[in-house]
Structure formats: structure tokens, C-alpha cells
Symmetry: C2
């Protein structure tokens, strides 16, 4: 049987097959749910509002994929992720009749996305991986936001890449190809890592290799992560595990 | 007398006046002259050519500013810095009748710009500065090239910004404004650091603050660095000195 030289005996992708690894950030590298829900509860309590803050956080986030698609399709004009977060928040609070939040309170909640903490394995896993591969973010967050997360979380990326660089958002294929172009590697030798299957599907369609990290808490306490699709090149339990697999 | 709150008692810029510091790289952070001349000598000797390699290196570099201006003015179409380096090298070797260099030899020389070593103070200086400020490159080199320099030289930038992101080159004012936009800071709170006065002049004209580091070996062993212009906000002897001044 012909064998792809870029795979090990067991058929999995090896580290020598890729030159660089790019990471989805919200959910894959940092835990948005815990910190955003915490901020929602803190600000909500301060303004005297009552709600299931974790559920509201989940709902805020659920508005995200369709909103991005509206931007990518051209239905609404491009704006920064902070702008989109605010638009979705206004929509969410209106729907639930939560009128207690002032303009300043809402701005404070949008800023919560700038202060998310990494999953416990992220700093060490990225350090290990960086010894063998170029590492970068490939997120819909702005570069300024991503630098904040990297600095406070101790995340040693070689550089910060954002969909905002080309005023678009994932899953626009142009975003994945931009990353390959900017890093100076071919799409076939660039590994997209994410906990969201849709992100990986779009990356694979653009010609990138894909690694799935099914973050168990990404979907909420009671919802398991989706099973690994059979078309991904790698599945890893966390970033340290990914670094180990790519050291082969 | 009214005093700008962003300056210390002695009138100099203080660290609280800027949110981020961007760096010219070739000459300011890394020493291109020594390593490019060394590669020229190594490859030249291999192919049996004779020349003053240091002088040839200086001449290669002297083609750089006018070539960039031809791109910025639209006279020649944008291409990557590697492409421009190759074009200038071909011109240089033809002028000196150095026909010994094959296509592969020339490609090898262009790659020398990917392997430049930092000035001795750069790694520690950047580490110190990063404790108080966001740091980034703002170079005409590609992101891939700059990542190579940062990885091999141990240069802890928060992110890598390149003029190539917008398919232009310094001194195009759009490059400086792009850096401010991507970092999410106002141009007035972004400090451009360089050993080239022209780079700083263009940055100042675009609204940025400026720091001059007169690298004594940048202009060759016998040519002193230009004196600090009176319009720069800061002058530092090296990056560690800059970090100390901005810690105020």
C-alpha cells in the first residue's frame, strides 16, 4: 500500500509533515465560559439583575457563529469582534428584558473577552510545541485582544494572527490561507488546531491539516464534546498531548 | 509653563505616555552587516569570486531605500522582501561583473537575511521592556523571516508585525498606522524605535512617537551613526537603556 511519508506507521500525521501550528483561541486555548459567566454574574449582581448567568453566557456565545457568517457572507459590514460582541449582547439582553445594564456595564462585559484565562495545559503545552514548531494564534479576536490573553496567560506564541488582519472572520477560507501566506508555509504544511469541528472543516476545505482537541468543558457542564470526525489528521486530549504527538 | 503630562520633569517621554513599542529590525535589533558579509565571503570564496565582501554588503544594503521607495510610489509592483533582495543582488553582481554566482548561490545569499543575529543587548533589553510595554516588530521583512530571527535570536516580541501585511513597505505612512490599528492603540501612544532617522521621520509624520537608537556599527566600521535629530522623543544607547527609560 502506498503510504504518505508524512504519516507514521499507524497512519497518523507526524510532526515532520507540518511546519507551523495555528490555534483557535476562544475555547481551544482559553476558557471563555467560566470567566465570561463570572463577569456576567459580577456585573449583573451589581446592577440588580437576575438571570441564569451561565445559561446567558452560553446563549451569548451561541449567537457568535451565525453572526460571523452574516459578516463573511457580506450581509452585514465587517466590524471588530468587540463591536460584534456588543451587538450580540444588546440583542441578548433585549430578548431577556434585562434593561438594568447601562452602556458602561455592557462595555465592561465586552471587555471580559479580553481577560480570559487559559486552560491549565495551554502554557506548558505551547512551550513544548514551540520547541519543534512555529506556533501562532488564528483567531477571530483582534491582535490587541489576543496579545492581552497571551501576556496575562503566559502563552508563548511565535506570533499573533487574527482574521481581523484581512477584515474577515473564520470560517472564511481566505483567513486560513492568509495564515499560510503570512507564515510563509504551504497550506498543506500548516496545522489548524481547534476544539470546534466547523473551524477544522473550513480549514481542511482550504487545504490545511487539522488537529482536534475535544475540550470537555467547552460545551457546558452537561454537554459532551462532539466525537472526533474521521477526516481530521490528529486528535489530542490537550495541547501537551498535541506537542508530544508532533514531536514524532 | 504648561507641561505635557506624558513627559518627565526633564521634558523627556515617559513610559506611561506609550502603550506599545514597535521596532525596526534590520540594524536596530539585529546586525545585518556582519552576517550578510560573512555569507557573501563564504559563498563568494566557494564559487571562486573575488571582491571586498564588506563593501559589497554595504552596497547591497544601499540599494534598499531607493528600491523600497519605488515600490511605495507604485513605480514597480509590490513583491516580497526576498524578491526585492534578489532583484538588488542581481543588479549588484551584474554591475561588478561577478558572474560566478549561480541561481542557487544567489538564493542562498538572499536567505542570509533570514539568519541574522541580534545585537548583544537585544534579547535582555526586549525582555525587560516587555515587562512594562507591549512589544512588536515593525519591519519590512516578512512575518516568516521575522519569526525565524526572533526564534533563533531569542527575541521575546509579543507579536510580529510586518509591512508585508498590507503589501507595502516603510516609509509608507500606512505601515505605521496599520501597526497602531492592529495593536489597538492610538498612533500617539505608539513608540517607533529605529536606528534609521528616515524611518523615525516617517513614523513621526504619521503621528507616532519616536525613539532613536544610534547603533555605532550600523553604518560600517568607519562611518559614525548620525546625531540624534532634535525632534525625536527619546534617544537610547541600546534596547536595555530604552527599557530603563520607559520604566519611568
Amino acid at each position: 500500500m502506498a503510504r504518505n511519508p508524512a504519516t507514521a506507521d499507524d497512519g497518523r500525521l507526524t510532526g515532520t509533515a507540518v511546519d507551523a501550528v495555528v490555534f483557535d483561541v476562544f475555547g481551544t486555548v482559553v476558557d471563555w465560559r467560566t470567566d465570561v459567566a463570572g463577569e456576567f454574574e459580577r456585573v449583573g449582581t451589581r446592577v440588580g439583575a437576575q438571570a441564569d448567568w451561565m445559561e446567558l453566557t452560553t446563549e451569548w456565545r451561541s449567537l457568535y457563529p451565525p453572526t460571523l457568517l452574516r459578516v463573511v457572507s457580506g450581509e452585514i459590514p465587517w466590524q471588530s469582534l468587540d463591536g460584534l460582541h456588543r451587538m450580540m449582547l444588546d440583542e441578548l439582553l433585549a430578548k431577556h428584558g434585562l434593561t438594568e445594564f447601562s452602556d458602561t456595564d455592557r462595555a465592561e462585559l465586552v471587555q471580559a473577552w479580553h481577560r480570559l484565562r487559559p486552560w491549565p495545559d495551554s502554557p506548558d503545552g505551547l512551550s513544548q510545541l514551540r520547541e519543534t514548531h512555529i506556533t501562532a494564534t488564528l483567531s477571530n479576536g483582534s491582535i490587541g485582544l489576543l496579545i492581552q490573553l497571551a501576556r496575562t496567560g503566559g502563552l508563548p506564541f511565535d506570533t499573533i494572527l487574527s482574521a481581523e488582519l484581512i477584515h474577515s472572520y473564520k470560517p472564511d477560507p481566505k483567513v486560513y490561507l492568509m495564515a499560510a501566506e503570512q507564515l510563509g508555509v504551504s497550506p498543506q504544511r500548516l496545522l489548524m488546531t481547534a476544539c470546534h469541528v466547523e473551524d477544522l472543516r473550513a480549514a481542511a476545505d482550504a487545504g490545511l491539516r487539522t488537529a482536534y482537541i475535544p475540550r470537555p468543558l467547552e460545551w457546558g457542564p452537561d454537554r459532551p464534546a462532539p466525537a472526533a470526525p474521521d477526516w481530521v489528521d490528529l486528535t489530542a486530549t490537550d495541547i501537551s498531548d498535541l506537542a508530544r504527538q508532533l514531536a514524532r
